[in-house]
Amino acid sequence: MLLRHTTDKIVERHALTVNPAKTCQPIGAMYASLGIRGCIPHSHGSQGCYAYHRSTLTRHYKEPVIAATSSFTEGSSVFGGQANLIQAIDNLFTIYSPEVIAVHTTCLSETIGDDIPQIVKKAEAEGKIPKGKYIIHTNTPSYVGSHVTGFSNMTKSMVDYLSQGNGHKEKCINIIPGFVEPSDMEEIKRITSELGIKSIVFPDTSNVLNGPMTGKYKMFPKGGVTVEDLKKTGCSIGTLALGRLASGAAARALDTKCKVPCELLDLPIGLEATDTFIDTLRQVAGVHVPDSINIERGQLLDIICDMHQYFYGKKVGLVGDPDQLISLSKFLISIDMWPVHIVTGTPGKKFEKRIREITKDSPYKVNVKQSGDMFLFHQWIKNEPVDLLIGNTYVKYIARDEDIPFVRFGFPILDRVGHSFFPTVGYRGGMRLLEKILDALLDRKDRDSSETEFELVM
């Protein structure tokens, strides 16, 4: 038993995180940057950070992950990283010719106080930025927020640096998809085009981090939102931000900067949240929902009806990012499953409040914590066991130790494939999530049934 050190006695801890349910800002910024076509994410700090971020993203997506680093030395930490960043900008544009360099800071460069815009200005003055190429930046100190915050910050920077309004509005909707998989971004694009809506999805990692096998190593895959489209976001008729924490800041910035009104929605995971997403799209764009989408909705509903007896009253433990957990909790409750332990590592008090609202009719006592860790989560489970666990790969330790069925969902998933190819957003995503949940529950039922109860038809 790997986690036998975990006891059920819960002690309040302030100085210590055990088995984190989050990671740090720069990786989120790096992930968002990869969603711009022809972009090199650049980590302004020492080499280790970006090596870890690249390794983690590589393990999760099983794709080459490109990024550069300022390679801080002791000298740069004392005298500042200006020289490193200018050299990096020069090298990157000369050798790799990216369209954009997206710089994010690390705890190191943040603390010594490097002023990125000033450094970039200097690089520009020295002629190190070729015409038509861009440098954007965001501040991502690792001791603030989490990977979700980093994603949010870099997405907002796309707006701050690139979005332009020209007074005219195009019949186009911006969609900020949130910290979701490339497959989810792809699905969001599919849904909007099914509705006949022109959209700009940003960031967009589809075809960057779930690309095909081509026989070639490409530094800049064909996916990603183009700089041209990012500029045009200022001329769209509206913005939908999916997931308040990951996408809200960029949407609001776009509203302020270019007067593009925005709606902040929950991530379209599950029936209700997808309904809201589709309905908002319909209203903002003034379109009708086509039959094809209604059919998908009906199919999702069909699965829920057919199998609802297996969901009834099941208790679930959830670990993940706030935006995901909010929609997921609503989805589970809508099919009569009850989240009883909900932990996110990402700080933010609103999360707890929102979950309390969502679970207010729960027949069970609900434990919820922001800035929590998986050790606490495990202790809760020891005190109040659940029927199903949903979370990232690290939850597998708990699933094994406590012998609880487990569905992988969230970031990172290091030991399975599928997440980057099959979405969990939209009605189809809901169908896939349900399939996974049912598989886990029914496999367990098959395994545990006695000889006499073992059934062919379920």
Binding site: Q47, Y52, N91
Partner: protein
């Protein structure tokens, strides 16, 4: 594939054997803006000390450093699993402003009381170096209060390369050595060694330890595969240090030579040739016991007999196929070249993240004409040479894997993510089988490949 530029500053870090006089530059910082595959000081310390299973490993810094190193390395333990937990002080903005010392003290206090570890390692990360927490004094204080060694590991990321992290880890280990003693009452052999630089990835240390026991040599400690604090404390009672991962552990071997007069030898456990040599070199050290040499001869011959027929079959299939090697330490590359030759493959590219001048000179001696030798490469360089040299296989780590697969060629992990041991005789067979399976996989028949 279009031609790519090589960064001007990097030209001297790439050498093609036979084409020019050998003049390879290494041991320098990666240039800013290069897409180096290297990591940092913290990474170096963490990988070396991580497999000590009955110690507490506390990362003092913001969450990332702990999160990214949480159980990523398959260093197996035969007992305690404390090393697989992820403990962090998870520094927040307030701590960065006001200092994290109090938090560190509290965290250590809680953890030591809860888990009663045999020792504790405190990893100081970048930010701790910048805000100037006095980690040493807190460790000292804690050590006194709790009665166990609490060792600071100065692994501030910006202080150098991964190699400097190895050094910091060795310094921490050296503080433990000499504090204990092995049980002299029992009938133990006086032919005692330490195994250095073996991390028990996929159970490799178990294989090696078993060989030594079979030839009559006692292993006092393995640093740090499946390691225990008490063993490390007694390491000074060995009469020989056998260093495998020289990049990481030569520092400790040298310190032990100086203080305890324990000589050391460099060995490798990869490939028939090198593992045999490792056993023979150890038996030569104990030449006053001819039985050890006899046992070694017997062991080597029977182990080779066990695997040779199957290796020959594999060699036939793989003959003439080409391999590209990009690994962390250069010493590992020597063995890989020999092991690949043994199964009929040619090495067309070999590189490392941390090799030094001597390593690269040796690599040059070992390689055939036309082989590219590269220090601190980036993905574009790697992919360029893989295409140019028509490689059929890449041997590397996590970041190289998807590059190989995208290009439609086989891959063998020789770093973090091993599940099957490659060390020892059985490891050679495992390696051959793995290379065979990936190079000969039917998937490549369906996959496009632009060579």
């Amino acid at each position: 594939m279009t031609a790519i530029h090589i960064l001007k500053e990097r030209e001297k870090q790439i050498y093609e054997k036979g084409s020019q006089p050998f003049d390879l530059t290494c041991d320098k910082h990666s240039i800013a803006g290069s897409i180096s595959q290297r990591a940092c000081v913290f990474c170096g310390s963490r990988v070396v000390l991580y497999p000590i299973a009955d110690a507490l490993h506390l990362v003092h810094g913001p969450i990332g450093c702990a999160a990214y190193t949480w159980d990523i390395r398959g260093a197996l333990s035969s007992g305690p699993q404390l090393h697989r937990f992820s403990f962090s002080t998870d520094l927040k903005e307030k701590d960065v402003i006001f200092g994290g010392e109090k938090k560190l003290y509290q965290a250590l206090n809680t953890l030591i009381d809860t888990y009663s570890p045999k020792a504790a390692f405190v990893y100081a990360t970048c930010i701790v170096g910048i805000i100037g927490d006095d980690v040493d004094s807190i460790c000292k204080k804690m050590s006194k209060e709790k009665g166990i060694p609490v060792l600071p590991v100065h692994s501030e990321g910006f202080k150098g390369t991964k190699k400097d992290g190895y050094k910091a880890a060795c310094e921490a280990l050296f503080k433990l050595v000499g504090q204990g003693s092995i049980n002299h009452d029992s009938e133990t052999s006086k032919f005692r060694i330490n195994i250095l630089g073996e991390f028990n990835i996929g159970g490799e240390a178990w294989i090696i330890k078993n060989y030594y026991e079979k030839i009559g040599v006692q292993v006092v400690s393995v640093m740090t595969g499946d390691s225990r604090i008490d063993d490390i404390k007694s390491a000074h009672e060995a009469s020989l240090n056998v260093v495998q991962c020289s990049g990481s552990m030569t520092t400790l071997a040298k310190m032990m030579k100086e203080k305890y007069d324990i000589p050391f030898i460099r060995v490798s456990y990869f490939g028939i040739e090198d593992v045999s040599k490792a056993l023979y070199d150890v038996s030569a050290h104990f030449k006053d016991n001819p039985q050890i040499l006899e046992n070694t001869k017997k062991l080597v011959s029977s182990e080779i007999q066990n695997i040779y027929p199957e290796l020959q079959k594999i060699k036939k299939a793989l003959f003439g196929k080409k391999a590209a090697i990009y690994v962390g330490g250069a010493f590992k590359a020597f063995s890989l070249i020999k092991a690949l030759r043994l199964i009929g493959m040619d090495v067309v590219l070999v590189g490392s993240q941390t090799g030094d001048q001597d390593d690269y000179k040796m690599l040059k001696e070992l390689c055939d004409d036309g082989t590219v030798i590269v220090d601190d490469a980036n993905p574009l360089e790697l992919s360029k040479y893989i295409v140019e040299k028509k490689a059929d296989l890449v041997i590397g780590g996590v970041k190289e894997r998807p590059i190989a697969y995208k290009m439609g060629i086989g891959f063998c992990d020789h770093n973090h993510e091993r599940k099957i041991p490659l060390a020892g005789f059985i490891g050679m067979l495992n390696f051959a089988k793995e290379v065979y399976a990936t190079v000969m996989s039917p998937v490549w028949k369906f996959a496009p490949r632009h060579l």
